[in-house]
Amino acid sequence: MTYLELRDVRKNFGKVEALRGVSLTIGGGEIVALLGPNGAGKTTSLEIGLGLRSADAGNATLFGSSPRDVATRRRLGVTPQHSGFPDNLQVREVARLVAVHYPHPAGIDAALTAAGLEDLAKRRIGTLSGGEQRRVSVALAFVGNPDLVVLDEPTTGVDLQARRRLWDQIARYAVDGRSILFTTHYLEEAEALATRIVVIDRGIVKFDGAPAILRARFGMRRLSYVGDPLPPIPALVASVDRVDGRTIVTTGDTDAYVRALIAAQEPFAELEIGVSSLEEAFLTMTGETT
């Protein structure tokens, strides 16, 4: 069953083309990371999928019907990007208010404990720190026990321990056909958690697939050796660094560089070739340079 679907969605804000035909499908039992630079269209795509905005063209459905249907949203839990809660309410009061909307909510205590908020349950939200408020937002997305949980930057401004706890929670939650869609700026987070990564850049989907495929397709490889760098090779994009007598080359085609190194009869030793990180793959894809 398709939980969330965007089909060729377009959206303009004035003259700015925010989305230029975004298609995206999320089914049961998936953990999908939505990545992209700021202003790439992640938030707009989410908002259209959640019924907070309407598409200029194309189609958005949630569990097969309109995202604005009340019945449809009983299967959806969302975390707000900005907190902005009613300051005077206690954490558990807000959690209870949200839980009331769902047919099979998690227990309030269980939901707060899962987010490590049990000690803050009786605190008024206005007295919490930014990171604590962020954790409350995340807990609210889970409290209704929905089939699809959408987390918008759930770990921004959150300490390392809380981040690890959330990673565990996400991994444990996405079973029995339940799915999670999250946006993040942290590539390690996407790599660690997601079963699928979707990259949006400048209003279109640049990649949609497993993390390993993303790395293989866009990943640069890294080659290093003790010795001097070669003069620039025509038709080979590479960045070259020298650290402590080692030359470090990052390029899409390490084989070509090795052939050139041998052909040039340049002395080298301790040759190493490795895969670079997803972070580098991402930057390659979105056309940014380190």
């Binding site: 959640l50 019924g51 907070l52 905005r53 309407s54 009340v70 019945a71 449809t72 949203r73 009983r74 959806l76 969302v78 707000p80 990007q81 900005h82 907190s83 902005g84 809660f85 009613p86 005077n88 309410l89 009061e93 807000v94 209870r96 208010l97 949200v98 009331v100 909307h101 769902y102 047919p103 008024r124 609210l140």
Partner: protein, 246 residues
């Protein structure tokens, strides 16, 4: 998660929020009673004067709370991320409206009850049980156009402007409606426009409990304002929806 449960949950959240802002609640509740104590108590020596003054200031109390609860409340909240978040919950928009109306009604009646309490203690009021009941009924009916007036302010005016706008509407209309000074003593211009104001007709409706009046006429004018503000409020609401969730 049926609609009644949802209305209850949202009403409770709003009341809890109010309860924890005594700096807002107490002055708002006390303001009409303070006016009553300053401007009406010293002159309320007879039952007739006490009755009509109490009725005037009860109308004043209900109008104030509805304009502020709706006008200022909606204007402040409609742009907040929390409202946006609530849109993602499985909750029909009407639930929030009904909860807000219930809150404002309860709050307005509390402000009016405080006026009545002070009047009952310090003036020679002459009210029987039936007349109190009639008063509660009339207060509800007469309050409806002001609820819609408040919603209109809430959707047409920015959060910053809502407080002064609500204040000006509140004080000017109460004065010209004859709620502070009996209509026959209003100065020239105010006296001329007074019969056409919703505040005046709300007053007329309440005064009719103790004195012969034109209940039918008051109800017709209030009904017309109800339609007028309902139309303005719904256009304002749709305009906000279109720009915010387009």
């Amino acid at each position: 998660m049926n609609v009644v449960t949802l209305v209850g949950a949202h009403t409770r959240a709003m009341l809890t929020d109010l309860k924890r802002t005594p700096g807002y609640v107490i002055p708002t509740l006390a303001f009409p009673t303070m006016f009553f104590a300053i401007f009406a108590l010293p002159y309320a020596h007879t039952a007739a004067i006490a009755d009509s003054e109490m009725l005037s200031y009860m109308a004043f109390a209900i109008i104030g709370v509805t304009l502020f609860q709706f006008g200022v409340g909606i204007a402040a909240e409609r742009g907040r991320p929390w409202e946006r978040y609530l849109r993602t919950l499985p909750c029909p928009p009407a639930v929030r409206f009904v909860a807000r109306t219930g809150c404002a009604m309860a709050f307005g009646l509390a402000a009016a009850a405080l006026v009545a309490l002070v009047a009952r203690i310090f003036t020679p009021l002459d009210f029987n049980a039936l007349q109190w009941l009639q008063l509660i009924g009339y207060a509800f009916v007469g309050g409806i156009p002001f609820v819609l007036f408040g919603i209109t302010i809430g959707y047409w005016v920015s959060a910053r402007a809502a407080i002064p706008v609500a204040n000006i509407c509140y004080l000017l209309l109460s004065f010209a409606g004859g709620l502070w000074i009996p209509p026959q003593y209003l100065p020239g211009f105010a006296a001329r426009i007074s019969p056409y104001l919703p505040t005046r007709q709300f007053g007329e409706l309440l005064w009719s409990i103790k004195a012969p009046g034109h209940v039918g006429q008051a109800l017709i004018v209030l009904a017309a304002y109800t339609v007028f503000f309902a139309a303005l409020a719904s256009v304002g609401y749709r305009r906000d929806e279109r720009t915010r969730y387009a």
